[in-house]
Homo-oligomer: 250 residues x 4
């Protein structure tokens, strides 16, 4: 196998598509958001990317059939913009691997004519989030106004540790090849899978790209998580654990 | 030394051979099973594979003679199918190494005309196993019926963490080059070397490939392990350690 | 992206420039010193170096604009020597990466005509430093006299663990291609960011390269740190923690 | 810098020289032994090997002059065999690095006409050693008799964990290119630098290669270590620590 192998499953004509990246990360916010798009819009699988930088692993599906670890691109035509949605179960296993994979991802996006990209993710707050804000970062300053109009918040030098992984490189490497790229980071505790944060990120994206999506299935997952959070709060309000901090949940 | 070096020790004509992979893993089930085949059938060594991805290490034999870490292929002619058995003491040391080695292993199998592969291994249950089941995963759905007829069990989305290492890639990379590949995973506690689980896997393989093998020597090892397990049970049944979980054995 | 990409931002004519390396390290002494030079002299950005060996990361500036991890060279013309100042937020992520990056850094320095280099850094003492000494190491013995005249101290076989990272390789690889290279290491506790140590290193450099720099801004940072140190001393002088050692601060 | 760079310092004519490898390892036995040879015989430096697999590091000598991490070959002419002694402060930093470096080391040895090699090292016993034995392993069975005549002991399947690092590969890779290679492993506790074990290994080598070496300086180091060991024994003989095991020293 080559270091990276791309299966071209389909090559539909897309109209100025926008790359939407949602690989695993903080609170699985980006992954939940991207997968919800696939679920609601019934996207068409267009590319599979295999890489020796991914874990040497297969997943097993509901029938017992194994699938080799890969990242996938789906094309979605919405009433607003066409989307090219990148999802998968893994990031790369090394520094250089992240650079190589993101380069490949941007190559594929370019091949479909994309010149804009949104990297979706979460930003950890360390405590339960009451009001969900979407924090932003952009590849160039021209993008700031449009995002602020859509309610995205920009805080100087935040996130303090920068943006790590494929999301960061979609901005950093994207900028170097002319992409208009932004990172949309939903606030999230950082301790739990967070469908509510994913919804907030998607609502921002709806606003930016002028499409409409239904949230029923995501809402169900959010309610399940609410129950978990409710139990945690009860534990916290009890006499033994009066701390408002979730850090011990891990 | 090149990154991978293959010593062609012998190149017998084999009749539609089946690749049997048994490298180290959970409970050493796959390794025990593959080595038992070599022992019983007196297979012929056909290839040695050296790789800079293996640990930089020699083992020392009973005479004091050192042998460089490698993987080996033995050819076995049974009354049923011809087998090409892959064994060794190590997996690769990196993600990319696993991909490169498995690619080489499949190249060699193809060279001998193999188009089918069984990856043997164990699946951890976390507790002592009373009734040994063989869990399966396949590279394509056409293989399901045959395996189910042989008593292999398929459980949706299991193993939950996927199948990692060379076994997983024999399915994942094998499928990409047209192999019919299946993973046979014997249930095992995950805490002990498990010859009984290896036997259950081999019995499934006998059924699938229509050969017969004697289990006396494997039975002896199983009895030794039974004694160990018996002592553990005694400890567990005593007043001090009433827990039914083996996790503390490590 | 290639493994290393160099953006040639500007290529001013420099007069026998001296490479000044100040990447992150012990007490951030080298980084503080190099950044202070940039601040005071208003240097011109001449090269950016991107590398897949750096963390896959962007930083976010005060406006929310992302910048891909890189190392930067600034040219500074002082009344004394011309300087080529190398700064950045990261070292490489692997052994080989350090060698490759330092080779690139020396290539760039040579391109500008540099044949001399100073690697700035800190050397940990394990306790609060009262009198700041600059410890030296050189790429060849001819450089010893000049540095000793400037007050640099040489202690046999120190630092005991050698000099690790880009600073070490500026000497080691620099020497192999004809650079006169020296490492100037300010003593520092090793537990705190140390602007005072950075100042001592810079004063030595002023002496060696015949330029004058103002220290007001660095002094402010030093005073902030003094307050921190003052509080630590109070804690140490209290009855509970009579130890003169800072190791517990981490 | 290339991944490996070799400085050819001198190329004396050697008569069927024997490669003696003494890189760092258990008890520093091999390194002490090889360095003692250099000290006593005043060997000629013939090759320096630099590698990006080594730590990115310089050491600093008694004058303050930095030296880039490397491995060195010295030629020694004894009354018996000519020796090519390989020493250094580091092993490689990765699996593949060990293979590449050892391949280079064997290339150099071949260039000087060597066809025999002794890898010197220690084998840990886990307790203080009273009678020092030299354990052996060979690249081919023809070497067993000669080594047994020299008092080398061979124990089936020992060391149990195999021989790791450059020493192991001198046997494993050496054998693949026709070297007659043996590993001489002095028993040592594994917790302390052990000059006595190094002496036992060298005495075996004297016997095998028919040269004579003085041990005064090594004896001094051994006496220093004896004092350390004496203090440990006192501690052990006291009422609080009656255990004969050194494991807690680390």
């Amino acid at each position: 196998m080559d270091d990276i192998e791309i299966d071209a499953v389909a090559t539909p004509e897309l109209d100025d598509p926008v790359l939407i990246e949602g690989l695993p990360g903080v609170g699985h916010v980006g992954k939940l958001a991207a997968e919800h798009l696939l679920e609601e819009f019934d996207g068409e699988l267009v590319r599979r990317v295999y890489a020796t930088e991914f874990p040497p692993q297969v997943s097993v599906d509901g029938d017992g059939v194994a699938g080799l670890t890969c990242a996938e691109f789906h094309a979605i035509e919405t009433d607003g913009a066409d989307l090219l949605v990148l999802t998968g179960d893994h990031q790369a296993g090394s520094n250089a691997g992240h650079y190589r994979l993101t380069t490949t991802f941007l190559d594929i996006a370019e091949e479909f004519g994309a010149a804009r990209a949104y990297a979706l993710g979460g930003v950890p707050t360390g405590e339960l989030v009451e009001e969900y804000t979407v924090l932003g970062a952009v590849s160039n300053a021209d993008l700031l106004d449009g995002l602020e109009d859509a309610g995205v918040e920009f805080r100087p030098d935040e996130p303090a540790g920068g943006i790590v992984g494929v999301s960061g490189l979609v901005l950093g490497l994207g900028d170097r090849r002319g992409f208009d790229a932004a990172c949309l980071m939903g606030e999230t505790s950082g301790y739990l899978v967070d469908p509510k944060s994913a919804r907030t990120v998607l609502e921002t994206l709806e606003d930016l790209l002028d499409f409409v999506v239904d949230y029923e299935s995501l809402e169900e997952r959010a309610e399940e998580m609410e129950e978990v959070v409710g139990k945690i709060r009860e534990m916290q309000d009890g006499p033994a654990v009066p701390d408002d901090d979730l850090r011990y949940i891990g």
